[in-house]
Assembly symmetry: D2
Homo-oligomer: 339 residues x 4
Amino acid sequence: MLIVMKADATELQIEAVLRVIEELGFKPHPMPGANRTAIGITGNQGSVDPTHFETLPGVAEAIRVSKPYKLITLELRPEKTIVRVGDAAIGGDELAIIAGPCAIESRSQAFAVAEAVRRSGARFFRGGAYKPRTSPYAFQGLGEEGLKILAEIRETYGLKIVTEALDEAGVDLVERYADVIQIGARSMQNFSLLRRAGRSSLPVLLKRGLSATLDEWLLAAEYIMAEGNYQVVLCERGIRTFAQHTRNTLDLAAVPAVRRISHLPVIVDPSHGTGKNFMVTPLARAGVAVGADGLIIEVHEQPDHALCDGAQALTLEQYEQLVSDVRAIHEVIAPAAVS
Amino acid sequence: MLIVMKADATELQIEAVLRVIEELGFKPHPMPGANRTAIGITGNQGSVDPTHFETLPGVAEAIRVSKPYKLITLELRPEKTIVRVGDAAIGGDELAIIAGPCAIESRSQAFAVAEAVRRSGARFFRGGAYKPRTSPYAFQGLGEEGLKILAEIRETYGLKIVTEALDEAGVDLVERYADVIQIGARSMQNFSLLRRAGRSSLPVLLKRGLSATLDEWLLAAEYIMAEGNYQVVLCERGIRTFAQHTRNTLDLAAVPAVRRISHLPVIVDPSHGTGKNFMVTPLARAGVAVGADGLIIEVHEQPDHALCDGAQALTLEQYEQLVSDVRAIHEVIAPAAVS
Amino acid sequence: MLIVMKADATELQIEAVLRVIEELGFKPHPMPGANRTAIGITGNQGSVDPTHFETLPGVAEAIRVSKPYKLITLELRPEKTIVRVGDAAIGGDELAIIAGPCAIESRSQAFAVAEAVRRSGARFFRGGAYKPRTSPYAFQGLGEEGLKILAEIRETYGLKIVTEALDEAGVDLVERYADVIQIGARSMQNFSLLRRAGRSSLPVLLKRGLSATLDEWLLAAEYIMAEGNYQVVLCERGIRTFAQHTRNTLDLAAVPAVRRISHLPVIVDPSHGTGKNFMVTPLARAGVAVGADGLIIEVHEQPDHALCDGAQALTLEQYEQLVSDVRAIHEVIAPAAVS
Amino acid sequence: MLIVMKADATELQIEAVLRVIEELGFKPHPMPGANRTAIGITGNQGSVDPTHFETLPGVAEAIRVSKPYKLITLELRPEKTIVRVGDAAIGGDELAIIAGPCAIESRSQAFAVAEAVRRSGARFFRGGAYKPRTSPYAFQGLGEEGLKILAEIRETYGLKIVTEALDEAGVDLVERYADVIQIGARSMQNFSLLRRAGRSSLPVLLKRGLSATLDEWLLAAEYIMAEGNYQVVLCERGIRTFAQHTRNTLDLAAVPAVRRISHLPVIVDPSHGTGKNFMVTPLARAGVAVGADGLIIEVHEQPDHALCDGAQALTLEQYEQLVSDVRAIHEVIAPAAVS
């Protein structure tokens, strides 16, 4: 059920509707927009009777929702969501660039990369403190020590920190040290983790699972939003296919596909999406050209010595060239992508 | 590193080797076999020097392991592992049958199905109390109440209970009420969950992820074993492909593929593996013919009214026919499959 | 449009209906069955008016067909088609076994294998004279010389010859020397070739394409049948997926899926379906257990020296064991598979 | 084997090498480049002895080739191939745009679209006269009548005609009426057709197969080149995956992947690559941004009435906007893409 308020509905009328929803035992999700406020309802088993709402003052419409998702939809919120992180944002006019190493390996490594990221004008720094590794014997990240290094980088360079949480306890720690909770591809359907992130006050960067359909991905975002956290950024990072010239097949059509259905911003990860250094920049250009709101890029000051994913990390020089390339494209296509 | 003891090595010699491994700061994993004991070593960064071990009394060989996994391998344990659950077993001569509803919906539903499962001679009962659902608005299981019903079924029918844990807290509860911890396809790379299951004294049924390669699946088992729990059963349940006549594509070649590499038992799930009622029995027959150690089957006393996965659940009658079919095949192929 | 004749319709009444169809400018496809004859109509653009037929003597029903296929369906012919090749058959009570080398390499190689195939009681011999090879520089088959060797084997051992045609000219040659035209996976949507095979009097073995959906595969069979050749055998040979432990992923669920829709017999190719010698026998067992009408198997007297696909060819001894295994399973499941 | 001539080798020296190759019974493939000529050798079984060539005057090196392909490689020809079609070209500085309807349906439809294509400044017109259709009952194209309309469009507008040949006889007809032979995705491994196209004097546009790996695609091009036709354009048109929000998954990483290995130009087909009207323009932008040499686009004057693939065809207005968008991106990235 979706309640659309009239354009001239008052605050008091909106609050009255919220109260009725709560009295019925459901959870209201108000989404103020440029022209009108819509209110999603979750927590119901089966359908809700629209007559509860249709006659309330200020209500324009009560719409039954037949789709599996509600809160992520353009019906609920026709304008694109801008996820704000302090003075930075994802989903606005500016192209968001999130860059940094796969894993935080040491203070000196992290600072060397952060220095370059800052210089490039990017606003976000990425780096893993807890790494989900296929093998139990691979480097699993520095843990809380890594988070502390990230917090220092935030302090020193003013970069916003994006870092992954692998479980509920991990969210507690990320909340303490960072700015955006990353949920990785392998965790996209870790529903306990999604719910915990949904109760956080930090924005969530939700990567698409390796074999996730569009609906499964959007419903994972819906899990987060159903708990009350509406600051979700989607990230296309490649899917698993038969193709072997890349580590994953970057599915750029996911960007316009999401746009058609959802108000959430979408970014592209050409590093995991290809797994090969020489492909990252061309696919980053393509990601911006297709209309993504941003990029997340792996950069390392010495890719040959990286403890994880070295084959796909850019050198600092390559990264600078990438930023210059994608900014030029973003300028050219900005009006087209918006439309 | 893998230490192979001589056939006539004494208990004392084995203990001495374990002590040396621990003194080096590593973790030993002794695996007694029919002819000799092998000892896996984990916890090392980089390779271990074999000369530490080669001259110890009772040691036949110290083998460097170049593969990404150690503990799951036939090198470590040439005989198939038999996972014992009380007086029942998976991996032995008898075909293991695990049957029950997708979700525990009520005491009466669960008992009606359990009655039929018991009658069929199966030793294991499955049923979800915590359901990982794609949508946050779908039925999520009865939770602990469901586990209590399962414990009652164990009491009443003597069936061993197999049920899913979605997170670390869920493992605590499953340990309290059930016999085998199921880790679902969507959780196959939830590494925190794998580690927690690895510290449990209950056996673990590890489903293959929707897009997991053989190596990723085996390494997920390795995560569990690296924590000290060697009672792991692998379960092929279909992979995600372009094909649309089934919910998943059941990859039966995974059974001989696992056999080639690992001593762990493997079972097949033709219910999720096809998603269609009329295909479950043919594919169950195929699963046994290919050499699986068992089957896990969804049965419901009223599939049309099931709260989850009704389209693939068998009726009680269909289930009885299936058991009779697969037993006949198991008898015919038993010697072939062993070879 | 599908015309179903009454059970007691006379030959004359059937002929009258065929005449009306032809006079309307369409092509009739009569399919006599155990209880009644049905007549498919093709060649129409848009739908045909049923009133043309409903009042003709002997007509029970005129059914509009909304599915993309007509002639392959159980609506047209409720009984399974038995494809007869001289005194041998595919689709009847007996399990059909087609065995032989990937490619005919020499007279002595072909005869050595044929000898073993004959001894096993199989009725069909396979062997490629024209090989579709990924590389232009790989062995492309002996050509017509290979066909002549095949014709000699037919003469000597009484085996029916199954061999591939790559193009329309190839069908001419296969018609001259062999018994069944094989259309390979890479040619499944070579529509000119399908049409040419549809005008042949030989039966056609149609392999599923590497990425063919069920509908695409059935429609390829429909192409052949629409030209008037109703002797089509479908062959599941594995699909392309992300999995890397096999050359292809054998999709055994395709067998019950075809059964649900079509009267055509289906066989399984565990050799191409796995690409690995040690998997062929387990998957052959599974193919029979799932209900296939037969198997097509690659056998070589010296797999290590094979000019093509040696990794998947069975030795003569392995082949004998396979035949014994699958016969035992076929006996056990025969009644179940029929139902 | 690959013979690299010295930069200052004379015509006579090159001819002498060609003669030696022919005398050995092989086929020489001379590829003149900016700095030096290289000569590929095909037709050999097994490896060729380099000493035949190393001492010939003008020879710099004789290199054994271990890769499955030779003629498509950058080793043979380090500069990108520019495929010239009269005064137009694919692979040069200008972005090549090929546009037109899926199928030629009538003279008026084709002319309406051609008018718009001409106006946009594109140099190539596409349109199918022979359509490979999944169903035998779907519209199969106008045949030779369609080709005649295409020839008229060439005459009237000066556009170069790109049209598909489905079989060897089709190549004869395309040669009579058109400028570029298109080989469709379903025919990518129709080796008889590839060989026939390899003996044509027209350039060939080779679409990637639905489930073709990079190597299979490049080897299909090698089939054409091995016959002597070096004017091949590769076309990425989407692959088959589990994703269902598009008809195919456009694999843009294939563009840099080809560039790494081959001198052949690559274009992108965002129409088949997505199957959805609203995605064509964003993915066309992405295709140019990733560095493709051109685009092939479906345009229809009335997409709602199209006899084939209407869901993905652009209107004339949408097409004009697309051309303007991609030209702007091409200008920005041109130097980057070249590098």
